[in-house]
Symmetry: C2
Subunit: 102 residues, 2 copies
């Protein structure tokens, strides 16, 4: 078990909205306002901050189209897709063992 | 994808030493001082606090033997073992994609 690596992955995922954003982008390319509409309860500020953090971690890509107003699209990077896939067993675990302290 | 459940699991794992303690207990029953010796850099206070948190989350069990001094043994619970197993893909991911921000 690559403990430091797992801790690094958990670290990136631990900000409240990371998993929800990765899940939403696993459904395909999304624009900022689409993400804002589709993720219940997230604020514009939190969405922008978490997207920046996921981008810095190399888990999502951001494409800016030179249009007025500028068009910005987000996608999972290959590393982001692989991380999302690696979360599937955690989802199965959560369904069965949801920790009392959650 | 059970997003809330994955976030709950990530939440429990996000305290710095959780993954290291689960990994150590995946090797079998351990006493407090064994854990203290085997986990590099952890303080007595952090070990006690993280063990309490993992116990509250139902991921580890604690057995106290009526001896003088009291003997206390820790083990993974079934839910803890299942969670540790669910982390294996994350370990594989980390080896391949270690997030730059880690």
């Amino acid at each position: 078990m690559e403990i430091a690596g797992v801790q690094a992955a958990v670290g990136v995922l631990s900000s409240k909205w990371s998993v929800a954003i990765l899940a939403e982008l696993s459904g395909g390319t999304r624009r900022f306002n689409e993400l804002l509409r589709r993720i219940d309860g997230i604020s514009r500020r939190m969405l922008a901050a978490t997207l920046r953090r996921l981008e810095e971690a190399g888990l999502i890509t951001r494409r800016v189209y030179a249009a007025v107003p500028a068009r910005v699209e987000y996608d999972l990077s290959p590393a982001g897709s692989a991380l999302f896939a690696a979360l599937t067993p955690l989802s199965g675990w959560a369904l069965q063992h949801r920790p009392e302290a959650a």
